[in-house]
Symmetry: C2
């Protein structure tokens, strides 16, 4: 632990720092510390769950102590919020890419939903985003990240309304309903004995359900 400290100091002094305002390395160190804490927490929360994850343990795993955590994130909840925001952004990015890759808008929308279900099967996302996140931080719609992935879905739906593919409904409301449905499906599939079979049934039923949105099916 003491040598690690020394390591850091060496590396940060290594590059030729311009004489005036060597402010960068300082900021970089801070950013690195934050990133380390978020990464460590993310692993711990995913593997053990939020409640069981000991701050002493996973901060030590990152070569730090709880002091750094409290300094940067306020408390354990604050750190969870940071982790959630990071994952939320990643999901949003992946969804955007998928929907933009499809031939037509409707196809893109469906692909997006299926992709969301698949992502929700990842244990990390289930545990952090679907189970512990809401319990500790309250409903996602209240999160500062404002659930980027909800906004993504809302945008997709709005596009479908605009181009006349689906009936004129409230885009956000529909996005939330669809989101909830896919989320529930994911939890179901993940805890099923035969995920493959259940997944097939879920997707089929989902397609039938969303066909209700179409102007003509």
């Amino acid at each position: 632990m003491a040598e690690k400290m020394a390591d850091k100091i060496v590396t940060e002094m290594a590059p030729g720092t311009p004489p005036r305002s060597a402010a960068r390395p300082r900021k970089e160190m801070i950013a690195e510390t934050k990133a380390k804490l978020i990464a460590a927490a993310r692993h711990a929360f995913a593997r053990q769950g939020y409640a069981e994850a000991s701050m002493d343990d996973f901060t030590a795993g990152a070569g730090l102590t709880r002091g750094a955590l409290y300094h940067h994130f306020g408390d354990k909840k604050g750190l969870l919020m940071a982790v959630v925001t990071q994952i939320d952004a990643e999901i949003s990015d992946r969804l955007c890419e998928i929907s933009s890759r499809a031939d037509n808008t409707w196809r893109g929308f469906v692909d997006e939903c299926v992709a969301y279900i698949e992502m929700s099967l990842e244990p990390e996302i289930q545990r952090i985003m679907l189970l512990d996140g809401p319990a500790v931080l309250g409903d996602p719609s209240q999160w500062p990240s404002q659930s980027a992935c909800i906004r993504t879905t809302t945008a997709s739906i709005q596009k479908l309304i605009d181009d006349g593919t689906i009936r004129p409904v409230d885009a956000e409301a529909t996005a939330r309903l669809v989101n909830g449905a896919t989320l529930s499906a994911a939890l179901w599939i993940a805890s099923a004995e035969d995920p493959k079979a259940v997944s097939k049934k879920a997707v089929e039923a989902f397609l039938t359900l969303v066909s209700g949105l179409l102007v003509e099916r």
Copy 2:
């Protein structure tokens, strides 16, 4: 605390107990203790959340100690499970009654869903069943109570398939999707600034969505 103990002893000795096998009062005392613990926990979990609720506090509120809790429920999780099972049964009952009161099956199904959304607006149900329950006990589909209300919805859907109102989908899969959608809607509404307005939008969108299930809409 000591006098309370005395009270109990007096009341239980009061009625004329038949000579043979006075086993009832004993069983009744146990059932009463369990019920008290469940009720106290239910209040505490609803008001403060599972994690913040102190076992010492709410058992004392019921005139008991943690000793009784561990004896009957094993641990805090076990008690939460008992609370969840109780609430689950209540919800199921209410849903059954509502759907059976409607003129036709489809109407009953829709009423049931709307009622579910409304119930989910109750803080107690939100907190215990939708937030803490899944986080602590895992996905509802794994609960011993097997989520009675999911079964209720599944039954309703199966009936609708049988009488040709909706297209032949997998009943359970659809029930879960619909359930997830309504659940998500409830969380959204509950945390909205203007619940009335949001509720209206959610129900509208919901009706559009489930129209996809109908054979002819």
